[in-house]
């Protein structure tokens, strides 16, 4: 306890620095993955993608990131075993942050597709299981989380498959695709607004003091959905059939209408990504702050400070603006086959899955979820050619990241324990 009293302030500051560092890493690396389908389908320009990412990553992080942050903060570890020496929790969380952050840097340097979520969860489980004791880990929760890592790409694949099928049936396969596009796309826009609002309002806003009943949330979400739909209809009025382009490729004008829809879907994806991945950076920070502020008490019920989410959101935006825009720039120059109608199906499916996971407090990998969603569209025969070798590389990075994060975290944990006693 005295360690905490002595070094409490340093610990909080160090935690904030490491947390910001990790959030920066997420912004520099991961956001490009989330915006990949939007830029790759040429529905958004690079500038638009960055602006959308800045606004909505921050919004998602602050408004909807609470539940996942709570899981990472205290859901994975059972603090009872550390009641005698709470400083161990502080060392461990700092070690986890450092470990995950460094692994992220290494992966960026070598160009490996690693998941920020897997890194931090692996690191936390690592230091707890090895550094403290195997009983310190809430294995039931961990099992649930690992299960969600398998379920989320599959779910996203299902949703994208049926979304794309609906687009085919209602618009692409009909005699008048352009007319039907203008008719049905507004409903899809409504869907985007409704889903994101619904999950945010029912699950996420308690930390800013907004307590809403289910019906209230539903009504507000419907209103938001309709509002966004009206904006979308205004934007789509300007699109007319371009005869010359349509001769080359019959669906050129239809895809322009889908471009409007893609804009809203990109916002939803950025929001979803922010809501799920901010926790990777600030969950540990919240844990450390919680322990220090309670003077060493490891009470489960301590409320989560909202400024921690703010720190995460700012960190992500900082990473995006300083480095991430370069990464987004290298994407999507050669993709001629990814059109907005497909990009929309994959992105909305992924965004929905991630946002629901954020609402239920499950930390999942947005990258893997997107991969699942893209495969779903491929299975609906909507894509020309998918390179399955990439899926293989992602699986390998999965298997490497968990132990790598764990080992690094264990190293740093014992280092801190040695340094501070």
């Amino acid at each position: 306890m005295s360690v905490i009293a002595e070094y409490g302030h340093i610990m909080v500051i160090a935690a904030c620095v490491f947390g910001f560092f990790m959030a920066w890493g997420v912004g520099a690396n991961d956001v490009a993955n989330a915006m990949g389908t939007s830029v790759g389908s040429k529905a958004l320009t690079l500038k638009q993608a960055i602006v959308i990412a800045i606004l909505f990553e921050f919004a998602g992080a602050y408004l909807a990131g609470g539940a996942v942050t709570a899981t990472i903060r205290k859901g994975i570890i059972d603090p009872a075993l550390m009641a005698g020496s709470p400083e161990l929790l502080v060392y461990g969380m700092m070690a986890a942050l450092l470990a995950a952050g460094i692994w992220l840097l290494v992966a960026t340097y070598f160009g490996w597709p690693v998941s920020t979520t897997h890194s931090i969860v692996g690191a936390i489980v690592g230091f707890a299981a090895v550094g403290i004791s195997a009983d310190a880990v809430n294995w039931g929760k961990v099992a649930k989380i690992v299960a969600s890592w398998v379920v989320s790409p599959v779910t996203a694949g299902f949703i994208s498959f049926f979304l794309f099928r609906s687009v085919q049936k209602l618009i692409l396969d009909t005699d008048e695709p352009f007319k039907n596009a203008k008719k049905y796309v507004p409903y899809y826009i409504f869907l985007v607004g409704f889903i994101v609002s619904m999950v945010t309002f029912t699950k996420g806003l308690k930390h800013i003091g907004l307590h809403l009943s289910w019906t209230q949330s539903a009504l507000i979400s419907v209103a938001v959905g309709i509002g966004i739909m009206l904006i979308g209809m205004q934007l789509q009025k300007k699109i007319k059939i371009n005869e010359t382009e349509d001769k080359e490729y019959h669906f050129a004008s239809v895809e322009k209408v889908f471009g409007v829809l893609m804009m809203f879907t990109a916002c939803a994806m950025a929001f979803a990504h922010g809501s799920n991945d901010v926790a990777n950076a600030v969950g540990p920070v919240a844990a450390i702050v919680g322990v220090v502020e309670a003077g060493g008490e490891l009470a489960q019920k301590s409320a989560m400070p909202a400024w921690v989410l703010l720190l995460g959101g700012v960190g992500i935006v900082a990473g995006l603006v300083t480095y991430g825009h370069k990464v987004i720039a290298t994407v999507g120059n050669n993709i001629t086959e990814l059109t907005p109608s497909r990009g929309f199906a994959a992105t909305l499916a992924a965004a929905t899955t991630v946002v629901v996971a954020s609402g239920t407090g499950l930390p999942i990998s947005t990258t893997h979820t997107l991969v699942g969603a893209v495969l779903g569209v491929g299975l609906a025969r909507g894509l020309a050619a998918l390179n399955l070798r990439v899926v293989g590389t992602i699986f390998v990075s999965w298997i490497v990241t968990l132990p790598a994060g764990a080992i690094l975290a264990i190293m740093f944990f014992f280092m801190f324990k040695g340094m501070f006693g």
């Binding site: 490009a32 993955n33 990949g36 389908t37 790759g40 960026t108 160009g111 597709p113 794309f164 099928r165 085919q168 049936k169 692409l172 396969d173 009909t174 005699d175 490729y249 019959h250 669906f251 990464v327 290298t330 994407v331 999507g332 120059n333 050669n334 993709i335 001629t336 086959e337 990814l338 059109t339 109608s341 990258t367 997107l370 991969v371 893209v374 495969l375 491929g378 609906a380 025969r381 909507g382 894509l383 020309a384 050619a385 998918l386 390179n387 399955l388 070798r389 990439v390 899926v391 293989g392 590389t393 992602i394």
Partner: protein, 226 residues
């Protein structure tokens, strides 16, 4: 395309556009047969030789394109249609160009003259065969639209109609071929026997052009089967 983004690394180079370009090249090669036959009938052997060279060059370019498509179709690629069906289609497209080269090559090699009574029908046969291969090209140009609709719905009906037209054109070519062979049969006793055999050969090969175009259509139909 070197990108770090694993999502975008998933989108591999599509083989469909290169396949459309390949059949366009094959058709360009085969359509040279019309000026070729005009030159042969006019007995302008220099011009005929020139066109034959051109046909050979175009056939070589088509071959290069075919190899390129094959090199970029690894087994790890996930396609909306079976990979083997696609490769079969490609092979059949290429055979159109091959046949055109064979025809021109043989006729130049033997300085083959076409008997006056048969010239008109011969021209008709070549035109009909090329109309058939042109129709195959039209049907294949719908490939990217087919992918957009995920090989279902309205677009499939459109393409199936095109394939039916293709079949009809091949029948017509068959008819003309039969009539031409009959006409040759009437006059074969007056001609040198070896020349006659090779004439029958050429007639056969021109019919082959239409035949192969029709087979391209049937391969395409396999992709559409639902």
């Amino acid at each position: 395309m070197v990108t770090n983004n694993p999502i975008l690394q998933m989108f591999a180079r599509s083989p469909f556009k290169p396949m459309q370009e390949h059949i366009a090249k094959a058709q360009a090669c085969a359509s040279q047969l019309i000026p070729f036959f005009e030159a042969v009938i006019a007995r302008d052997w220099d011009k005929a030789r020139e066109i034959q060279q051109q046909i050979a060059v175009l056939e070589g370019e088509a071959d290069a394109m075919k190899k390129d498509v094959r090199q970029h179709l690894p087994n790890s690629l996930f396609l909306p249609v079976p990979r083997s069906d696609l490769l079969d289609l490609l092979r059949m497209q290429d055979k159109i160009a091959n046949r055109a080269k064979d025809i021109a090559g043989l006729m130049i090699g033997r300085q083959m003259e076409i008997p006056a009574v048969l010239q008109e029908q011969m021209k008709q046969l070549v035109t009909a065969a090329l109309a058939t291969s042109e129709q195959a090209l039209t049907a294949l140009n719908e490939l990217d639209e087919l992918i957009s609709t995920g090989f279902s719905g309205h677009e499939v009906n459109t393409v199936e109609k095109m394939i039916n037209t293709l079949d009809d054109l091949e029948h017509q070519t068959d008819e003309i071929e039969r009539e031409l062979r009959h006409a040759l049969f009437q006059v074969e006793k007056e001609l040198h026997p070896v020349d006659v055999m090779f004439l029958y050969n050429i007639i056969n090969w021109i019919g082959d052009l239409a035949d192969r175009a029709q087979q391209v259509g049937s391969r395409l139909q396999l992709l559409l089967a639902r």
